[in-house]
Symmetry: C2
């Protein structure tokens, strides 16, 4: 790396940091954020469910399909949390509890836990070993459930 | 590749082909397919819109953010078409026309066109050249519009 490319990289990094927007600013309206996060969870749940069907023996195990599904799950796991913008708590069944915003660091830790488990899920899906996939599926499901138990209205 | 690994690969490929399911079989109910395809389009539109904001100068151009958004767009472009299962045409504004299922090959070509444009969008986003991004954004938007004009009830 020459000095000029180093300087360019530093400037690009600085500009990137300066132009990084808080999550809320990425959505025009809170409703857009809610719709977006629900959509990301819907896509994630659909593909996670397809792995579940293999893990539970309802459809034949297929490492290629399991990997494709796991990759969508891992990609989706990165997205919905930006949609939890202030002012979008609820009280009805399935809506997020206000405690997300009073203990946001703990909530974000839970999100990180899911993201980490989904990376392991991809690796397990690629392993062509159904027992490994079952274990990773269980761990991923547990990380879903932990946040649902804590932060989703029953 | 030894003969035994070749045999294993052939068997795996055969099993994979045998267990490939038609799109409809991936969803328990037609409503699940509709919810899924709408969710994938919502995620895609959100991230495509963020590139649009840069292209239109509403937010500063940032190649890193543009690339991250373009990658989500390209990933999402692969998903919704499996959700267009038989029996899910509508007549209300925004719903799919029945012609999708009478000219499915043409519809699938439109989907492929979008997928191809989103791959170019990722490359353009990475180029760090706003003019290239503008061109790729326009081509991607045109491929969205082509299908909307043909297959979405106005």
């Amino acid at each position: 790396m020459t000095l000029s490319t180093l300087a360019a990289a530093l400037i690009a990094g600085l500009l990137s940091a300066l132009t990084a927007l808080p999550a809320a600013a990425q959505f025009q309206k809170p409703e857009d954020a809610v719709k977006y996060r629900k959509a990301a969870f819907t896509v994630m749940a659909t593909h996670f469910g397809r792995i579940g069907a293999m893990v539970q023996g309802r459809v034949p195990y297929d490492a290629t399909a399991a990997t494709a599904n796991a990759e969508v799950v891992a990609d989706m796991a990165l997205l919905p949390y930006a949609g939890f913008v202030e002012g979008t708590a609820g009280t009805e069944k399935g809506s997020p509890k206000a405690s997300i915003w009073t203990e946001r660091a703990k909530f974000d830790e839970g999100a990180k836990k899911l993201q980490d488990e989904t990376i392991k899920l991809v690796a397990a899906a690629k392993s062509n070993n159904l027992d490994q996939l079952k274990a990773a599926f269980g761990n991923t499901a547990a990380s879903c459930k932990a946040c649902h138990d804590n932060y989703r209205n029953p």
